[in-house]
Amino acid sequence: MFRRVRLLAVVLLCCSVGTVAWAAEEGCGDTVELDRFQFFRQLTLDLFGRVPTLAELEPIIHITDVGEAQVDAMLSSAEFSRFVRRYHLDLLWPNVDAFELVNPALSYLLPASLYDYSSGNADRLFVLFVGLYERGGLVPCKDAPAEYDRVGNLIFEEFPDGTQREGWVEVEPYWAPGTTVKVCALEARTAMISSDGLACDRAEGMLSGRCGCGPNLQHCLSIESGQAVQQSLQEQFLRMIEAPINEERSYYDMLLAENEDLNGALIHYYRYLAPMAIDPIMQYPPVPVAELPTDVPFTDPFWTSYARPAEHSGVLTTVLYLLRFQTDRARANRFYNAFFCAPFQAPQIELPSPSDPCSNEPNLRKRCGCSYCHSALEPAAAYWGRFADAGTLYLHPLSFPDYSEDCATCINNPLVPCKFICQRFYFTQAGHPDEEPYVGFLKALVFSDEEEKQRVLGGPRMMVEQALAAGTLATCTIRRLFERLHNRPMSPDEEQEMMVDLVTEFDASGHDFKALVKRLALLPSYRRLAR
């Protein structure tokens, strides 16, 4: 042990001294031109996400330089996918917590160990609401096989804490065919209608606590299946980005794609699990359930393309994007940052007091202190105005008209509360005289002008098409990619010198992403390193 410690101390001292000498020799603040080996290493790290192998480096000894041919070879390699994926993960943050996928209290199968540390077998699975309504507490079943009486009813045991608990049964779960898991017997029930007449394949049934998870636990999510769905949603998102890049179509097709790819996990999720959200936000997956096959198992890894309705627009209306960014403002904010290089950022000034009369202005576009961002953010958010907050439901104009008489008047009837749909999607009560004209309108239309109303109707697709027509996407794409490869923003001088040419070339290439990467990777500045 002491020998290893001494050895490491020698190494660290020598390295540190060597590093100081190295830094002094090169000189901090200088720039150095990379030789062909260093340039190849930089390209490999950036485009493949790893250092080059010795086998890749050795041929470079025999050539005079690394340039276009090597960059072309890398861009043609399947490994370039590493760059595409990581770049867009960093750009769009596509991930979602498993608890966003279903209502965790209704249909999330938790291991007993989460709530009952004293139990012997911690792995038996239970659902919180079943415990609450059937056992009398947020508790799992007891750690013993389930027992039934002569007529087939479950036998419960009274526990000192006042709860009653049945045993577990073994079930073959949909996420691991050919294996079994221990599941509390109540959760393993397969009836499709509850004892009080509610459909067990809907959130209402599970909310009653009187339903089980169905055959093979199909309408409950486990930690394993939740991870699989999470990963599949991210994979779906990245496939949508990669497809136009690999097929040498316009990079921006990923913002306009009508289809989406589904594997077994996502087909199962759309069919059985999306309805387990407590509100109608998830009941209409992008691909209608009626069009999904019924014979694809959850574990099927193959991806098939399915058409989505016309309101959909590439990654911007995927389940993942809509759940990751839960409000129309958040959705617009990420997109404007990533693709317009236009963050909503207030200037460094003092905000007015909340008691200042101008702070009572209900329209955020005008309210002092808020207007700096919201005068631009509200019109931007309007594009997502017909996609439910905290959900994926599209508020189709036929089902959700701009104005609802019911929702406009419901607040005046103290005996009958406003319907859920009104509370969720419509503006039902004015808190300020300026808001009164908007009572009964969709929330997205409050304070909107004619242009915003068009945006609400046109959706994200309209935004992308307008931006493409105006040529406003290319400049930001070039800036972002330049920054990624150079590890710094483009300087004003560089913008002035290169941007027009780069945009012209990118447009002329039909927005070929690989061609743009190549162009930037062959810039002389990319081959120089600042120390």
């Binding site: 050895l7 020698v10 100081v20 603040g29 990581r86 710094r488 002389p524």
Partner: protein
């Protein structure tokens, strides 16, 4: 012993900071080099426009270590099979999950330096032990004929290949190079302090540790 370790670690981190080219003097910290706060304007380097250096991401590091060591990763077995510690420690090391962490901090931080040293200690011992049992054509660490040789010519031959492998630095055969010389000096220091029979093993372990902790490996 503790202050000794801490001092060495700091020296390493601070020199890494210099090589990033993005550090400034902070009078509040008594002149200690620290990265500028976000949004601070960084003086552009002298000379023509260039790319700023960056630290390898944890993903790049995790993928690169098996390449330079011919298949060895930073793995441990805690009784339930081998696990990759870069994956286990991903959140500690700042790998973004795009929910709570959306950007990987690529400053050469103390914690990444510390864990890379841990990784190097685990990998290097395995690499040396494996390499010395292999025939010449299968070796990736010592690429001269006599594994236990301490001769300057032999050691420098292998060091040249290792520089290509780790840093993509090509040094033609027979050419002198200051950095290879520095590593040869390290080899000598480590093998000279080793017990009898372990000279070459200790020398190459020291080289492996040094190469993995070099800023030239971690930065690009």
């Amino acid at each position: 012993m503790k202050w000794w370790w801490t001092s060495l670690l700091w020296v390493s981190v601070l020199t890494l900071g210099c090589s990033s080219g993005s550090s400034k003097k902070s009078p509040d910290l008594g002149g200690v080099d620290v990265p500028p706060p976000p949004g601070d304007v960084i003086d552009p380097p002298a000379g023509p426009p260039a790319r700023n250096p960056r630290r390898l991401t944890i993903e790049q590091l995790n993928r690169s270590l098996p390449i330079v060591t011919d298949g060895l990763s930073w793995t441990e077995d805690f009784g339930e099979g081998e696990v990759n510690l870069f994956e286990v420690l991903a959140s500690t090391l700042g790998v973004p999950d795009y929910l709570l962490v959306t950007e990987e901090n690529l400053e050469p931080s103390l914690i990444v330096t510390k864990f890379l040293q841990d990784a190097a200690q685990r990998i290097c011992v395995r690499w040396v032990e494996r390499d010395k049992t292999l025939p010449l054509e299968q070796r990736t660490l010592v690429t001269h004929v006599e594994w236990a040789s301490l001769s300057e010519v032999d050691v420098k031959t292998s060091l040249r290949t290792l520089h290509l492998r780790f840093f993509a630095r090509y040094i033609p055969p027979g050419e002198d190079d200051a950095k290879v010389q520095a590593h040869y000096d390290l080899f000598q220091a480590a093998s000279g302090a080793a017990p009898a029979g372990a000279e070459a093993s200790d020398g190459w372990t020291a080289i492996c540790l040094a190469l993995m902790n070099e800023p030239e490996f971690m930065m690009y």
